[in-house]
Subunit: 136 residues, 2 copies
Amino acid sequence: MSKIEEKCKLKGVRLTDQRRLIAKVMGESLDHPDVDELHKRVSKVDGKVSIATVYRTVKLFEESGIVEKHDFKGGKARYEQSPDVHHDHLIDVNTGEIVEFVDQEIEKLQDKVAEKLGYKLVDHRLELYGTKIKKN
Amino acid sequence: MSKIEEKCKLKGVRLTDQRRLIAKVMGESLDHPDVDELHKRVSKVDGKVSIATVYRTVKLFEESGIVEKHDFKGGKARYEQSPDVHHDHLIDVNTGEIVEFVDQEIEKLQDKVAEKLGYKLVDHRLELYGTKIKKN
DNA sequence: ATAATTGCAAATGCTTTGCTTGTGA
DNA sequence: TCACAAGCAAAGCATTTGCAATTAT
């Protein structure tokens, strides 16, 4: 049973063949696929799964905190399995490649900024867009 | 002549009555209106301006660096006049209110993170989502 | 048994675009 | 004058939804 499947059980999310398959594909994905891409990967195993089901399932998983949705610039929503430790993303503007990173100092400063403005931070979005530095 | 109008001249953007009006409305907006809202405000002055023109104009202004587009969570694109000094945004998740802020330290750290990963930062997105802290 | 889930196609909401007429420099 | 802009309605694209048939517990 996949890790995502376990989380479904835990959250009381009813499992179907389609959901199990989508969970498996998500769990095996090391990148950040969009719904179309997920549907393609799922279809290789079961060609009868509709894209509507993929949409419904990622939404369900997201609402259950099982996957994370990202709306990076210029395009469709992309998904990844909810990580154990929070991270942010750097997107290569040339290749679309995504690099994950963690910076505790920035995280702390965000809290501080919010507090200074009279707010309690409940969510945030930090995305860096960059170009690869050529090494000589 | 509005500030945005001046920028248009500078960038060689041809001015029309509609663009002048949209520029004026944008310049007078202290919030971050979406296209619908802009169209409403524009329509109060000239009811014949079509929403397609508003879409085309904000896009043109954005490409010319005259306005900034923001895709905050959950909805339509919102616009503001390009500020002289960069700032980021904190969004009140209850009211939708937007607070602008500047934090040089975070900015610096972002550059540092990108560099450490082997990238040159060309753009970034930092949004804080929070709830107002009640004061007693 | 039966409430929830699926597949399909149609609908949605924001944004863009083709085409014809109008207009700024 | 004439390349470019505007208005309108239609098209596009990602995502959601109504409905009838299917399925999990």
